[in-house]
């Protein structure tokens, strides 16, 4: 199956061993999108790296840049002004919504529900318009700079976001109306791609894929970053660890993200959006690991600095990479048609896996 297959969300090749319709063995072949980003950034200045980070997970560019700039700030000991922290939280959560909406649309499309795709992309469009107005680009936003934001967000955008948060829960209810009680959807997802909590932890699953198995663990709570320590939100978990549970977890996460956006809007402090940082960024020699909760899971950055303006080594811990590694466990023994459902439920992005 693959590498050119519409349901693989990129260029993923799965070697399947079949007995009729039943999957006996599976091996994922990746690397078709390998661009060597970890090598490229070793020759780039610290402030030139965020545009590359955008392109790791292109559906959640804002989250990627957030993880990177926070890692560098931690290493340099820069304190980011509170307004920038809140704006970062707000934008990252909007990005989480956008990413989850892509997941919902394409996942449902793979399983055969066309309408949800159009509905989901309608709302995503509104989010992308916000990004375009704030950062000048829709997808690869280059949203944050080391020390804060490039500039304050333009007037009027916050009202738009507020309006969006008003109607978004209704839209989520709309999607749920289409899918949650739908007999076809339930038959295609309940009991498909089950993974137990122990296995999920052992495989290093993170994000909604782990929470679907009933582990209440979220990096936003475990090690709060940006302004998440001030936010009040719940971490939804599933019970059985199947595709349907992960679907419910993500749907609830969208509502919680909406809540976080609301709180960030209400409490947004005034002030500068960028801390004073030198023009040429030279972090002190040392190493730092910083992980954030990206829409797909835990996204970590391990930066080794030798005191120069270029990193000695930058390692990205891509959540999709570890999530995809568990695919064999999840699909062996199921039917071929369920492979598509499992790829969808893992919410992988091949740009992030291959880097």
């Amino acid at each position: 199956m693959g590498p050119q297959h519409p349901a693989t969300h990129g260029v993923l090749r799965l070697k399947l061993v079949l007995d009729g319709e039943k999957v006996l063995d599976c091996e994922a072949v990746i690397g078709y999108l390998h661009r060597g980003i970890e090598k490229v950034v070793e020759s780039q200045d610290y402030q030139q790296i965020p545009p590359h980070m955008d392109r790791i997970d292109y559906t959640a560019a804002v989250s990627n840049v957030l993880g990177y700039v926070e890692a560098v700030e931690k290493l340099m000991g820069v304190t980011v002004p509170p307004r920038a922290q809140y704006l970062r939280t707000l934008m990252t959560e909007l990005n989480r919504l956008a990413s989850h909406l892509i997941w919902l649309g394409t996942h449902a499309l793979d399983i055969g529900a066309m309408t949800v795709f159009l509905y989901a992309f309608r709302e995503r469009e509104e989010i992308l318009k916000v990004f375009e107005a704030c950062f000048g680009a829709r997808l690869t936003t280059h949203a944050f700079r080391i020390g804060g934001l490039a500039e304050d967000i333009p007037p009027g955008v916050l009202d738009k976001v507020r309006e969006f948060t008003d109607y978004f829960p209704k839209r989520v209810a709309e999607y749920e109306q289409l899918l949650t009680g739908n007999r076809i959807w339930m038959n295609r997802t309940i009991g498909v791609g089950c993974i137990s909590a122990e296995d999920a932890i052992s495989f290093g699953l993170t994000g909604p894929s782990l929470r679907g198995s009933g582990v209440r663990w979220d990096m936003r709570r475990a090690k709060p970053y940006a302004a998440y320590a001030d936010m009040d939100f719940e971490i939804p978990i599933g019970k059985n660890g199947d595709t349907f549970d992960r679907y419910l977890v993500r749907m609830e996460e969208m509502r919680q993200s909406n809540r976080i956006i609301r709180q960030a809007l209400d409490r947004l402090p005034d002030g500068p959006v960028r801390a004073k940082v030198p023009k040429v960024i030279k972090p002190p020699a040392g190493e730092i690991y910083h992980a954030i909760e990206a829409p797909k899971g835990v996204l970590g950055y391990y930066i080794v600095s030798d005191g120069s303006s270029k990193p000695h080594r930058l390692r990205v811990r891509p959540p999709s990479y570890f999530n995809l590694a568990a695919i064999k466990k999840m699909i062996v023994g199921s039917l071929v048609a369920d492979v598509v459902a499992v790829i969808g439920t893992l919410d992988i992005v091949l740009g992030e896996i291959d880097r």
Partner: protein
Amino acid sequence: MPEEKSPRPETPASPPADKKPKPPEKEPFSKAETLAFLQSALPDSFSEAYTFLGQDFLLVNKASLPELAELLKEDPSQDYALLEDITAVDYPQNEKRFELIYILFSLTRQDRLFLKLAVADGETAPSMTGLWESANWAEREIYDMFGIRFDEHPDLKRILLPEDWHGHPLRKEYGLAQQDEEWIARNLELIKPQSHLGVPSNKEIEHLDVSQPKS
């Protein structure tokens, strides 16, 4: 990136020397209980323990790494159930040039522990696949990118690059635009890298040798 046409300006906006924050330094290991526990259970398993910027590092000896990792994972007082990541760093100037970094996470106490293992070129490292499934692909990637082999790995082969590729890209001596020309000629009928539109071609970029020590 093209060659630098002029020397980069010195940091103009850097704060004066007296205001400059002190660079972070190694501090004594912050997890006293873990340290005491390991010293009593496996006294010779690690050579150094320190904390850097709130991160707890243990420099592990190769022979005792599997035992130590198992202890950290299984013992209820430690409970590092999640292997968040394995990565490697290349220090060409060191005697043992590679440093493997194992990032462990405890889901119950929400803290991290970093295990470091120095590996020389050509030396193998013990595989963690028996303890954590997530080590499987992480180790394959390290093998692919650095050429470090792992003992008892069930399926050690390249993961991101083609299986018959030569060279390990994240080693410092591997050029930025270096490619396995032979493989490309064999498998892809690509035009040779050429200068187009006056932009430096891959060949010309190669002088950006990142293996050179940076000033």
